[in-house]
Symmetry: C2
Subunit: 421 residues, 2 copies
């Protein structure tokens, strides 16, 4: 699309410019605009002062769409309504119907400063706020279409998803049906981009969004078949486990699988130190599937809590196939779970040797029906990265084990152990 | 200070405007400017295109200081040098000495695209980059002082701290000696602000910066005595444990204490599910002080790994003083550590009862020399918040236990259990 519309984002709040609060709106709004084919021309953070009016007029002149957030509260700091009226050069009018709809929902507010929130610039329309008192606003300044949204993320996100995005998609954007979304695991951004570039594009365009545990990939344009062919090429390159159609968070997906199959899990963590347990217990209801386990950070705790022979640790080493298998088996048995997973490795920065350098990781699995296995991986990067990647790989192994309920294809894992970063 | 200088921040990169990468520069730079008394007028994120020149000229006209980051790489996307020359209306000159200093450090670069990085706008000075190839730049456009910094956070932060901030502090800002920094734990932002507002200010000003595990408080102006008196008032209100002079991260501080005293720690985690272990093993070298422990998420794992009697769990309940004490004692003994800490509670959103509502938390401590104790807390908020606050309180209790090496003052902890949020 050559005629892509330009969007300006304008977020208001001194807490944003002084760094007290990190701007979370851009990360929420921009990728969603990108998904429907709209480009962000500029993001601006401004303190709560009168300079906003000048900036708003300017953005309205430079862009097709301006999205403003913040400053809609009831106090005197909250200048946005006045400033919009000023920039649009129109009067600010009390909207009786709007005020009634606010006080209907929040009875205690009648007669308070919240009355300010029922003023609307002439020619603008209020957008109902289902999650708070401050209504949003929409209207025009010159040729630019404006959306004014409340600053609290929950209110902003709800209003953006329910009111703003559908309207923009209808009038300017791609339809959801013209896009294919994929979730990519354990692939670095540049590796994914390179792979995408090598695929003949046939009129397709693609964009990525790096999330905490995956990269989301949006394939747009073409037809359904060409988008699927693009995805298939990527799956062939990276493996189906790492590139999946849809919007998927791997740990959450595996948690759902365990719940669905009514299976219980326990873990034995060495260098991950509790990170796997923390990740699965982040999910409400985790006690349905997770029994707990052991943080066997030292030889002593491996021995005392898991009953692993000191002689095994001495002969094979703490970071080895044998130890990983013994940890997984033991933790599963002791906690009477269906699956046991174990992590042993060197997170660094210290502790590496020539034989076992920093980043060496063994992940073990024990399943009631499928026996024991362990796979080695070599992960590069910081301590934090090595730990978080290892936990994510753990979820991938667990998924395979749960689904297949038989011996994992060790050839396939060996192949992964090289491509994983 | 009425004549506070205005700063504009301009960050360049399409990955910022399309939301792929979250802007981390504002959160780094703005509070540090605030500490020395400089206000941020505007933060703008722009894609890599020619619009930057127009925006740069405008910011230079509106502000005293403009800090630009990004677009200094060697590729054709990296337009910042050209754009600065364009906005400053001057030539872009090859700087032979700069090029030599780059190739001296990165020999393999000579004759590559990196040669672009040795071009400097006429009248500008390069700022050496100790962490990468792209030098920074400083100079003027009109009356505005400009700093152009590389985009990678490690390079930007190093150059900002070592070159930009000292210069700004010297010329425009407060001196470090005119400021008192405090670290506040387990206090919410609004509670801290309210308390600060109630203290007679005597010409002092203060600012806060919310960090992941604390709020940093900066008290400026007045003299040393008045700043100390302000801090003392806060300590009287919140307790010395929660308001401390200096820049302190509590878990890191406790980790240092354990290392210094050569003491070992183990943990038994129920509802925190590994978060305490994860937090202490985030620190490199944690194996010197941390033995590991147990994620005793169920009655079964409490029984099997820690030997806690089912009858105790039945009679006292899993979330109780008795269970917390038994968990801490048992994990310390089995892992032969000096200290054992335990967490049992209801993280929610489900699982609460009238007697033990969501947010009820018991934290137990066992010390080789000081015996066993447990304290109850009532923490409000989301599952994530309840878990993270509980872990932070755990570190506070641990610190008291390590330092005093005797029975904790239970009266004091009872008092805290009410003020903690």
């Amino acid at each position: 699309m050559s005629d892509r519309k330009k969007v300006s984002l304008l977020f208001i709040g001194t807490e944003l410019t002084n760094g007290t609060v990190q701007d979370a709106h851009t990360r929420y709004i921009s990728p969603r605009l990108g998904e429907i084919g709209l480009d962000v021309r500029s993001v601006q953070l401004l303190p709560d002062d009168r300079s906003i009016s000048r900036e708003l007029k300017r953005e309205a002149a430079l862009s097709d769409i301006v999205i403003v957030a913040g400053g809609l509260g009831p106090t005197s700091d909250d200048l946005t309504r006045e400033i919009v009226a000023d920039a649009a050069d129109c009067a600010l009018l009390f909207n009786q119907r709007l005020w009634e709809s606010i006080t209907e929902r929040f009875e205690h507010l009648s007669g308070t400063a919240n009355r300010n929130q029922a003023f609307v610039p002439e020619g603008f329309e209020p957008i109902p706020n289902k999650r708070g008192t401050a209504p949003g606003l929409t209207g025009s300044i010159g040729d630019a279409l404006l959306f004014i949204l409340p600053g609290p993320p929950r209110e902003l996100q709800g209003m953006f998803d329910e009111d703003v995005l559908p309207l923009l998609r209808r009038n300017y954007g791609f339809h959801k049906e013209d896009m294919l979304e994929a979730s990519c695991f354990l692939i670095c951004e540049s590796g994914l981009e390179e792979a995408c570039q090598r695929i003949p594009s046939q009129g397709l365009s693609w964009g990525t969004r790096v999330q905490s545990r995956r990269i989301s990939l949006y394939i747009r344009g073409g037809n359904k078949e060409s988008r699927s062919a693009f995805l298939f090429s990527l799956q062939k390159h990276f493996g189906k486990e790492r590139v999946r159609q849809g919007n998927i968070d791997l740990p959450s997906y595996v948690f759902g699988l365990l719940r669905e199959k009514k299976k219980r899990l326990s873990c034995a963590e060495s260098f991950t130190g509790g990170l796997f347990g923390k990740t699965i217990t982040d999910f409400p209801g985790s006690s349905e599937v997770f029994s707990g386990g052991v943080i066997s950070y030292t030889a002593g705790t491996k021995e005392k809590f898991l009953g692993i022979d000191r002689s095994l640790l001495d002969s094979s080493g703490a970071v080895s196939r044998e130890t990983a298998v013994a940890m997984a088996l033991s933790v599963r048995k002791i906690s009477a779970a269906d699956f046991g997973i174990s992590f042993t490795g060197i997170a660094g920065p210290g502790g590496g040797t020539e034989k076992t350098p920093v980043g060496t990781v063994w992940i073990g699995l024990s399943s009631l029906e499928g026996g024991e296995y362990a796979f080695p991986f070599s992960i590069s990067g910081s301590r934090e990265r090595i730990r978080s990647k290892a936990v994510l790989i753990g979820f991938l192994l667990l998924e395979m084990s749960i689904k297949e309920n038989k011996s994992l294809d060790s050839k396939r894992m060996w192949q992964y152990s090289k491509v994983f970063l």
